[in-house]
Symmetry: C2
Subunit: 371 residues, 2 copies
């Protein structure tokens, strides 16, 4: 094989597929990036058997061929080459030379024979989203996916389409995060749970804006993201997702409009007094047009008042400050609305047109350990 391409293009391609290289594996071939120049294009592939990524790099094929190169070393070499044209040439014993200007590296690759290409999956009607929207909806929900895998269904996000309406849901037993998006193009109805890891990697490699599209295909076992010159194939999590409709009761006795920044800063300050795992709640006391927040721990105590606009009853309710902070971090609005029923019912943070809903369960502040 002999190919040439610009260093910048090669770095971009290597960075993209590297997201599917496993950090630890017993199969050495999975630690490689496959360069496949056996047809008319230079295709890079990596595959950890959960996620597979394939991307095309612009360049010239002088001699067709295939080689598998250790991903870590190959990407380090490529990144440190001068900004110029790179030549990659292999011989029949898989010796590979990588040349750029006066620098020449010789490393030994592997035959591509044992490499697991990403599965070929028939495409039906795509779900079309802008790359910006896809990044946003993942970013705005993924923090609610459970960290541990005690419950497999909580380790992914629900992606559901019904009547061209997309709903993304993440939950971990203490909170629920929901984003709703109206699709511009017709899309098939789907309901699929995608692993957190896949979504995390997708966010990192999709860097386009509102005018760049990504096509999503869903099959019985896989979800496929196609964008630019890249294809990402991921397994999905099998099983029945949680019924969330019944959590979305619209009843409330108190509605509070509050400046998001002030609310965030105040809770952020309060968390100084809480050590991780302390389960110390922040206590919200809303009366008239003031919300008083207070927290106390063995380190000390803190309290602060924030101006609010309140409708309905006064309320005193306790929260795990982290869960509120996580939601406030990803809301782009300046003012937000909180809806609460009583001190034992979840608090809803949502906007008027339902594009986002964050549900946070309260903490019993008289006996927080009991939560």
């Amino acid at each position: 094989m002999k190919i040439t391409c610009q260093k910048a293009d090669l770095v971009k391609g290597v960075n993209i597929v590297s997201k599917a290289v496993p950090t630890r594996t017993t199969m050495a071939i999975l630690e490689c990036i496959l360069i496949d120049a056996s047809s008319g294009e230079i295709k890079l592939t990596a595959n950890d058997m959960e996620i597979g990524i394939e991307t095309i790099v612009n360049g010239n094929i002088l001699e067709r061929g295939i080689i598998a190169l250790d991903a870590k070393k190959f990407s380090e070499i490529v990144r440190k080459l001068p900004e110029n044209e790179v030549t990659i040439e292999t011989d029949s014993s898989f010796k590979t030379s990588i040349t750029c200007e006066k620098a020449k590296f010789d490393i030994v690759g592997k035959s591509g024979e044992d490499f697991s290409y990403i599965p070929v999956i028939p495409r039906n009607q795509p779900i079309v989203l802008s790359q910006l929207t896809l990044r946003d909806i993942i970013r705005q929900t993924i923090f609610s996916v459970a960290d541990n895998d005690n419950n497999k269904m909580m380790t992914g996000e629900l992606i559901e389409i019904k009547d061209n309406k997309l709903k993304v849901v993440a939950l971990d037993g203490h909170r629920v995060s929901i984003r709703n998006v109206e699709l511009k193009n017709d899309a098939p109805d789907v309901k699929v749970v995608v692993p957190k890891k896949t979504l995390n990697e997708i966010v990192k490699i999709i860097d386009g804006g509102i005018d760049d599209e990504v096509n999503i295909f869903v099959t019985d076992n896989h979800i496929i993201f196609e964008f630019d010159q890249t294809t990402v194939v991921s397994r999905i999590i099998e099983g029945e997702y949680f019924k969330i409709e019944q959590m979305l009761s619209a009843d409330y006795e108190t509605k509070i409009k509050i400046n998001k920044r002030e609310f965030f800063d105040c809770i952020d300050r309060a968390t100084i007094l809480v050590n991780e795992g302390d389960k110390k709640p922040i206590i919200v006391n809303a009366t008239n047009n003031t919300m008083s927040l207070s927290i106390s721990s063995f380190i000390g105590s803190m309290n602060e008042d924030i101006d609010i606009v309140k409708e309905g009853k006064d309320i005193m309710i306790g929260f795990n400050p982290k869960f509120v902070i996580d939601a406030l971090k990803v809301i782009d609005d300046e003012e937000i609305n909180l809806y609460m029923l009583n001190a034992k019912s979840p608090c809803f943070i949502k906007d008027d047109n339902g594009s986002f809903i964050y549900i946070v369960l309260p903490v019993n502040f008289n006996n927080p350990g009991a939560n």
Copy 2:
């Protein structure tokens, strides 16, 4: 005690003295920052018994007093307060309230009684340097201080003044880094070895430029840095430093002028093929007007040619690439000169006026393990 000051001033002061708060200690009082408003100024102090730092914060003293506050929590609180005036008030039981706008923290402090103030040391004639110069000379030598403390004298830097000439030396048995500076003001002759940790912290808190001065005082046991409203007192390392004059032989058979960036980039690329602790040398082969660099390890091999201007004999010599890279990183010149005698003698990297000298011992490239 009751004081008020601007948040930004308080943050700055806390950041400075925090550098002297020990990360682990058996004396809880050392984990505190002392606020001393018992005289006419607000003075913050921290002291880990090796380094003590004292700085004055602008503000108003409404009621004189002293309090010691847990450094970690106090600095977190201060950093997260709104950008406005902060009030710190204590009562007789050391309960301390920190108020800013509508936010109020209550924490419990300690009596300042057991706190170790920084020692009061008589000042004689100061050594005057610009803050920029002090930062530069530390940055350009400190990487050569030994990491382990097998030899106590190698864990610090020599600071020597003779006839108003300042020399700073760091060495670790494989290399020597020297910076020479002509002092503008008269200064006393001194010879002192300052611990690496002190110099590392000094670099972090001295942020002034060429027109901001620092006064340095040296006593039998201490070195003192005075700048802006801050005083840093550090112990010195007792003992006799290495005789370096005898290492500085001016003999050479080969002189090479090389572009620093190209030389650096090439060695940087070569290190991809070397794992930490591998002891694989980079082999430099200078003939005519080309320097050919090559390295080979079990990962692969690399070679690259660089244009040079050579005077004297051809030479082939091996180096630990890290030691060369470390020196090249801190040299600001575009072109540098290498002076070499033979493959077993140290290589000198120095400029014409002797403001810096980096000496790197070669590695036997036929049997690098023997070095």
